[in-house]
Point group: C2
């Protein structure tokens, strides 16, 4: 069966659009999720929507599963190959098809890099707002699949808030046009449904993005706090005051020290926690916001505070934050990045809970995250070469995810579920929600060919994992620790 | 069968939660869509989620269809009763359950009025942004069903951008928790899918709303233009300049004159078109935005321009716009309000097309609409007592909807499809998209009990209407006029 399929695939696509030999397949065996690898059956790299349709139809005929892949920068294993499945890479579809400054939209192919959109829009004073850390490399198609966020999504929203339309190839090989260039579209919101669906519902072949006017100016405050709790409470106070910073990031002391060792950003290493609070807009607006935030952060106990004086200094303040992940690699051979989201008022409490789990599991954990929208990124440090450390790290990750759920939050903010958080999904959702997810999946992909085994766990898996009472009952998760 | 059902219903709900007698049922025979009436089998008015679940389960057992209803202010017939169906009114579920100024969220029951949320949030300096014209009366549940917008959605988004979570009762009687208090939620985005689904996928019993800091101040510009085209082009120029007004409304001369006759707002009746352009934010920001917009509107040919000097004058400027619909009732016994959305760059062209259709169909049509997001509201004037006029008006409405689709737009912006735009949906979507909508519907409501005959036309209806080639073919709509 795979032999006939591979033969047919070779007839369908030109040689440069196919990877078949074992050595070259190795380049595709993982995405940016550490600890997971698998070899695909083959890699197809179509250059057009027509080629995507042809490949999907062929897979359907031969019942070969398909795993779509963007730039491979995903952190949850959404693009991890599945054994026996075709990997469908969209990196060659990277044309910027149209840019309309009046409607403030850009129509692009899925392989276009996130930052390339803003670069193309710059001459019109426009930009594309979502800015994941990987924006130099990650693709718009991948951003759509994972509903990517970034430092500025507190003010400007996630991918779902910035995409106006899509073209989606279904498993039938039909091409659906979802949304468009307008604010709303009639019918069910299949556009939003598709965004963040991690390649399980269809293959995105075109995306219409909303562009925003580039803010005239921006300034950032760097504020040190004597305790992590004080910084967390300053975040809650700031948001309650009615300020919406363009970005509001928190770094704990171990992260700050790692960053300082790495690139000497000028961060105050004596602070137990550091906040970066940015304002953007017109000069007058930025001045007013910075003054208000400055006053409030001092009132909340900041014991050091600096405001960027020019664009160079602003970039320097951010450079440290942006280097936090590479800096963390110097603290341990490996790190595992979590992605829980919690209500802002629970920040101090949950950070304390994570510190407790760190002691309990015996794994160091540092924190650097989007505090403004309560999106935590605990980095658990470990050494993959020490037997058992990765398993223990994963177990601690699951405990953090459950802690977030118990605090009224979510197991993921912007990285997606992929293969990484399948078990955590059993804590997030009950059997009714999971059953509805599976029904929606069947409505798009009745044969289950698209990215199998990702994003949505089976009811059976959840039942085995944690004693989910599939047919109801009072306690859904009797094994869950109570926080 | 209905007899057994009605008996069981009486055992389930207290007398005050049931309307059964013919005379009292008449109060529920329509919503705000003119020209359509139908009597429901009965009206249930549950006071709690538990009662909703019980009613839904009973309907399922007896296979009685259900039509959910909010405040009945909808303009597309989404809450129009269906003969033989139970009308499920949610107006008694009107508790504000929680308001959290730190997370900036409000958790409310579906019957809470839109404006009541902002009133409750006002002491914290917060408000709920979506502001449909009916906001004094319309309910949050209805806003969710229709994905309501309003004057300020240009800057602050539609309902889907301002709802963080829902509780949804399925036809099975299960209660799904969708979204939450956080920015994003893992799994498929069933939250967004449900918003705007017009009561076809489930019954909303609780909504978590995002609140925003109330802008410190606001000012509005009133600018007259010598032609409608000049005003339309000013809108495009303004948006292309990188300004996002809080509201940007256009009214043509017949509307301005009707408004002046009605309440003497002080509008310049000699202008062929009038723009209202609002800025909100900090004092400095508003001053800068108003100066920039003022300069640009004059450059685009405004021949009269006034800026509101204080809050009283700002309210006065808006009063005329808000009175446009009642004022229109003085021009003719009845009017029919359309709701197309088009790309902003096509505004002048489509308005000219509507004027042509007005001549062709012999029905006067006035225009007052959300120009900033290209959301047209043509009001077709007619007299329901003159035989044939309503049919001709509806036909012109369909032609306008098709004109919007041909311009790359949509048949609805914020009023929903309901029963009104079912035929227009056949112009908006091809058979592949419609088939996918129907598959999603089956994934939620396999028996088709929820709001039958609304929002999504059958493939058969579209095929009969316009020769849709269900099994493919080059020309999907051979009868469509080419614009």
């Amino acid at each position: 069966m795979p032999f006939a399929f591979l033969n047919a695939l070779q007839n369908l696509l030109p040689p440069e659009a196919l990877v078949l030999d074992h050595e070259r397949l190795r380049a595709f065996e993982c995405d940016a999720l550490s600890g997971y690898r698998a070899l695909p059956l083959a890699v197809a790299l179509p250059a057009s929507e027509a080629e995507v349709v042809a490949v999907v139809k062929l897979c359907r005929t031969h019942r070969i599963p398909l795993v779509p892949r963007g730039a491979g920068t995903g952190l949850s294993g959404g693009a991890l190959p599945v054994e026996g499945a075709l990997l469908l890479g969209l990196s060659r579809m990277r044309s910027l098809l149209a840019l309309d400054p009046v409607s403030r939209t850009a129509r692009v192919q899925p392989g276009v890099r996130n930052l390339a959109v803003s670069e193309a829009a710059a001459p019109y004073g426009l930009y594309y707002a979502p800015d994941p850390s990987s924006q130099i490399a990650c693709s718009i198609g991948g951003n759509v699949a994972e509903n990517a966020g970034g430092v500025h999504c507190l003010k400007y929203g996630l991918t779902v808030h910035n995409v106006l339309g899509l073209r989606l190839v279904t498993t039938e090989g039909d091409v659906l046009t979802l949304g468009g260039a307008c604010l709303d579209s009639p019918g069910y919101d299949l556009l939003a449904l598709t965004i963040g669906s991690e390649g399980l519902l269809g293959i995105v072949t075109e995306v219409t993005l909303r562009l925003l006017p580039r803010p005239q100016t921006a300034q950032v405050i760097l504020a040190g706090f004597p305790t992590v709790s004080a910084a967390a409470e300053a975040v809650a106070a700031l948001m309650a005051e009615g300020i919406t910073p363009a970005g509001l990031e928190l770094m704990d002391q171990p992260t700050v020290r790692a960053v300082e060792d790495y690139l000497h950003a000028g961060y105050p290493t004596e602070a137990a926690a550091l906040l970066l609070a940015e304002a953007d807009g017109s000069a007058a607006e930025v001045e007013a916001d910075i003054a208000q935030m400055r006053e409030l952060l001092l009132r909340c106990g900041a014991n050091s505070l600096r405001v960027s004086r020019d664009e160079t200094e602003r970039q320097a303040f951010w450079a440290g934050r942006k280097a936090a992940f590479p800096a963390a690699s110097r603290l341990a051979p490996d790190y595992y990045c979590m992605d829980g989201t919690i209500p802002r008022r629970k920040l101090a409490e949950v950070l304390e809970g994570i510190a407790e789990l760190s002691r309990e599991f015996g794994r160091p954990c540092i924190n650097v995250f989007h505090a403004g929208d309560g999106n935590l990124h605990p980095l658990i440090l470990y050494d993959a070469n020490v037997p058992g450390q990765f398993a223990r790290t994963e177990a601690m990750g699951l405990a953090i995810a459950r802690l977030c759920v118990a605090a009224g939050g979510a197991i993921s903010g912007e990285h997606g579920v992929g293969v990484e958080k399948l078990d955590a999904m059993c804590s997030q959702f009950g059997p009714d929600e999971l059953a509805q997810f599976l029904a929606v999946k069947r409505a798009f992909d009745p044969q289950g060919l698209l990215n199998p085994g990702k994003a949505i766990p089976t009811l059976h898996r959840c039942a085995e994992l944690g004693g989910v009472h599939i047919h109801g009952g009072q306690t859904r998760f009797p094994d869950l620790p109570r926080f």
